[in-house]
């Protein structure tokens, strides 16, 4: 696939996306929107933080995605005693032709798809080991930098109910996740399908969409296509206004000048820190994927709105008042989107 033939590339993208969705839905019952969000983040080149109670299929979803993409897949179960070298790899003494020398042994980070299961159970030091890999696709061990092979995709899961012995993710770590997807409990019909489908003699399996040797290149080509999607200036302005609206006015980090949108009183009351520019990048890149999925090569307002909640909800740092009042970041983002409708031309 090449961008030289954009019409064909567009059709190819839509086809791949649809095939991936279909394969994942063979093993994942329901959660169609969550699956789409994960795929959007994947093709946008981001990482996904999945939050959900145990048993809702988080790990199965990530593993199925790796299998469907036919990319290298590793899983790391984060625990308190997990060390950074356990993730990034370490130098070990190896015997080579009668000589002993340090040889770098790559960790589970060196893969295309990494499942960081229950990432909040590791210490912040270990969690921070992912920062460089997620942002710059490289790992530095003992002064030596090792490049990660693209595509690199991290799927981390969070267990929100078992807070004992957990370490909240640092803000910088959270900000590096493209989307945060919340997996709710399945509804009644989905529960019935899950029970019936997973207790039989044969378990559903995932067929790979790509051949192994060409999967990485194929995915990279699709990611490049996503970045070619056109965005009009007023849509960039719209996305920037949404991000700006997440910043509380009282913050000393608030930018100077008037905001395009009036400050929402909930934002002022409940938000300590708003979204970073990465939030805006996530908005536009996610919107571009949405546009391609819709058969367009240009972004619209609706594309931005569709990805706003998963792109921004984990970037809002709420204060104690919000926790006390039970404020969900999703509601704050929805309020911002509602206010931003007047910016539409």
């Amino acid at each position: 696939m090449s961008v030289d033939n954009p019409q064909q590339a567009l059709r190819e993208f839509q086809g791949v996306f649809e095939r991936l969705r279909r394969q994942l839905q063979r093993v994942i019952v329901g959660h169609r929107d969550m699956l789409d969000q994960i795929l959007v983040a994947f093709f946008a080149g981001g990482h996904v933080l999945i939050e959900g109670v145990p048993g809702t299929g988080k790990t199965l979803m990530v593993r199925s995605l790796g299998e469907a993409l036919n990319l290298s897949f590793n899983r790391v179960q984060f625990t308190v005693d997990l060390m950074p070298a356990d993730i990034t790899g370490t130098r070990m003494v190896a015997d080579s032709n009668g000589r002993r020398e340090f040889t770098f042994v790559p960790g589970p980070l060196f893969s295309h798809v990494l499942l960081a299961d229950e990432i909040n159970r590791a210490t912040p030091k270990t969690q921070s080991a992912l920062l460089e890999a997620m942002a710059e696709l490289q790992v530095t061990v003992a002064g030596t930098t090792y490049k990660l092979a693209p595509p690199f995709f991290v799927l981390a899961t969070l267990n929100p109910i078992e807070m004992e012995g957990t370490y909240p993710l640092p803000e910088a770590q959270i900000d590096r996740f493209f989307f945060k997807v919340v997996l709710p409990y399945p509804d009644h019909s989905e529960m019935q399908s899950i029970i019936g489908g997973t207790t039989g003699a044969t378990l559903p399996t995932v067929e790979p969409v790509f051949a192994r040797d060409e999967a990485a290149a194929h995915v990279e080509a699709l990611r490049a296509l996503v970045r070619e999607v056109l965005v009009a200036p007023h849509l960039e302005e719209y996305a920037a206004a949404i991000v700006r609206a997440t910043l509380p006015a009282g913050s000393k980090f608030a930018p100077p000048g008037p905001a395009p949108l009036p400050l929402d009183e909930h934002i002022a009351r409940y938000v300590s820190f708003g979204s970073s520019p990465r939030g805006g990048q996530a908005l536009l890149l996610g919107a571009k994927v949405q546009a391609l999925l819709d058969g367009r090569v240009n972004v619209t307002y609706d594309d931005i709105d569709r990805v706003a909640i998963p792109a921004l909800n984990h970037r809002l740092v709420l204060n104690f008042a919000a926790v006390a009042d039970g404020i969900d970041p999703r509601t704050l983002v929805e309020r911002i989107l509602h206010a931003a409708r007047k910016l539409r031309h």
């Binding site: 954009p6 070619e228 999607v229 056109l230 009009a232 007023h234 367009r296 090569v297 240009n298 972004v299």
Partner: protein, 490 residues
């Protein structure tokens, strides 16, 4: 890729058409709204001019001017604000044709050139959706809806042509002038022709007689002020002057024709004048009757005109059936009585006539002063030596009895001489020495007995002298002239 380039040109061409249509509609809208406002203001002013008071009209005129200016400014601002450039046109077309920002994105791509491998796809999609953004669909109206407002405003303006003018309000009794010599009450006696003359329209028929000036000419210089005072204002000195002018230029014209806006002017001019002899306000009636009877006047051959005149309407039409001798006696008796009254009235009038003129000249406004300076209406001197009207009038002359074939010479003298020749003949027969009358010059509207010619008068005429020297309003000069003319015909 040539195909893509051609497609882009097609998109741009269509966008240009859409933009032209949109901007045309915008300009039309602004113009229509502005015109609607202006026409609406004109309509309101028309209605107020016809039905409302002067103060309301004045206020509405100022407000209307402000509204017109505001409408024009608003129209310009709206046109400027709604004037669409290419990007804004693309945005509007995107929204109206549900193109999901494709046009905007393409236009932005054209204005900010950068590598865009997907641009051909965008152009192809726009061309595939060309049915959705036909100019006729995006701008369905070539003419904005505001044209209906303009049409409605025009209809409203046209409807004012069917609106009748509000009749003048009856004047308050206190509005009547006081003390002006020769003042005549016109209150309640004005008839339709007079009101017609008020509005400046042609006073067809009415009191005009053949040979008279068109009544429309009397409305020159009339203003709303005159209209306000019409119907009740007393005739002051200015009216005397004006009436004299009319009498000079239009022999045979009844003085009622001069009942116009000058009444108001006269009323204004009389403001502040303290005229002695306020009890003489009834003098014109008596003078008229006395003159008519003294000269054995026959009833006018147009009773309807007399009826229209406030002062002649009381004439008894049954008079011709009486015995001629008794009639003459009664008329003589009445004339004697009238002369006495006139003599009484003359004394204060001598002191007031010129004084009133002076006072009037001082108190009049600029317009009225201008009128006073009209060469046809300055102070006139009637020395009585000129050939009389009556049977001595030459056809087509100024005093033509029939009032026909009158040629108004614009270079004609501004004064005329009225000589009652019967007096002169009588004096010549009696051989009495003519009395040297006091020369009264510069008294407007007064008829001096003889200013340059010494005329001997007999006793009877001497009695009439006071009447001769009385200040006779010009309208009664006209009556005399008509009566004499009728007698001459007989």
């Amino acid at each position: 890729m040539p195909a893509i380039t051609l497609g882009l040109a097609e998109v741009e061409d269509r966008l240009r058409v859409v933009r032209r249509r949109l901007n045309t509609v915008t300009v039309q809208h602004s113009v229509y709204v502005g015109l609607t406002a202006v026409i609406g203001v004109v309509t309101v002013l028309m209605v107020l001019g016809l039905q409302g008071s002067a103060s309301a009209f004045r206020a509405a005129a100022w407000c209307g001017a402000a509204v017109c200016v505001a409408a024009v400014v608003w129209g310009a601002l709206v046109a400027r604000q709604r004037w669409l450039d290419v990007a804004a046109t693309a945005q509007l077309a995107d929204r109206r044709a549900a193109l999901t920002d494709r046009l905007v994105t393409l236009i932005d791509l054209r204005t900010r050139p950068r590598p865009a491998p997907l641009a051909p796809v965008l152009v192809a999609q726009l061309l595939a959706l060309s049915g959705q953004w036909q100019p006729q669909r995006i701008v369905p109206r070539r003419v904005p809806r505001s044209v209906f407002a303009l049409v409605a405003a025009l209809l409203a303006l046209a409807s004012t042509t069917f609106m009748e003018r509000r009749p003048p309000e009856p004047a308050a009794p206190g509005q009547t002038g006081t003390g002006t010599t020769g003042a005549m009450h016109a209150a309640g006696t004005l008839t339709a022709p007079f009101r017609t003359a008020d509005v400046g329209g042609p006073a067809a028929g009415g009191l005009s007689v053949p040979g008279g000036l068109p009544a429309g000419t009397l409305s020159e210089g009339q203003t709303a002020d005159g209209r306000e005072a019409s119907g009740s204002a007393p005739r002051g000195d200015s009216q005397l002057g004006g009436s004299s002018r009319e009498a000079q230029g239009a022999p045979g014209q009844l003085p009622g024709d001069a009942t116009d806006g000058s009444q108001g002017k006269g009323a204004q001019g009389n403001q502040g004048q303290k005229q002695p002899g306020g009890s003489l306000t009834a003098l014109p009636d008596r003078l008229q009757e006395a003159i008519r009877r003294a000269f054995h006047a026959e009833p006018l051959d147009k009773p309807q005109q007399l009826a229209a005149h406030p002062d002649l309407g009381t004439r008894d039409p049954s008079a011709p059936g009486e015995d001629q001798q008794a009639k003459v006696d009664r008329q003589h008796r009445d004339a004697t009585e009238a002369r006495k009254n006139a003599a009484e009235a003359r004394a204060p009038e001598k002191g007031t006539g010129q004084g009133a003129q002076k006072g009037q000249g001082k108190t009049k406004s600029g317009e009225q002063a201008t009128q006073r300076q009209d060469p046809r209406s300055p102070n006139q001197t009637f020395d009585g030596n000129s050939p009389a009207a009556g049977d001595g009038s030459s056809p087509g002359g100024l005093m033509d009895a029939k009032g026909e074939n009158v040629v108004i010479d614009p270079n004609a003298p501004k004064t005329f001489k009225l000589t009652i020749t019967s007096f002169l003949h009588a004096m010549e027969q009696k051989g009495d020495q003519p009395r040297q009358p006091s020369k009264k010059t510069g008294m407007t509207g007064s008829v001096s007995g003889a200013s340059t010619t010494q005329v001997a008068v007999n006793e009877r005429q001497l009695n009439d002298d006071s009447l001769r020297k009385a200040e006779i309003p010009p309208e009664y000069e006209d009556i005399v002239r008509r009566v004499y003319s009728l007698r001459g015909d007989q």
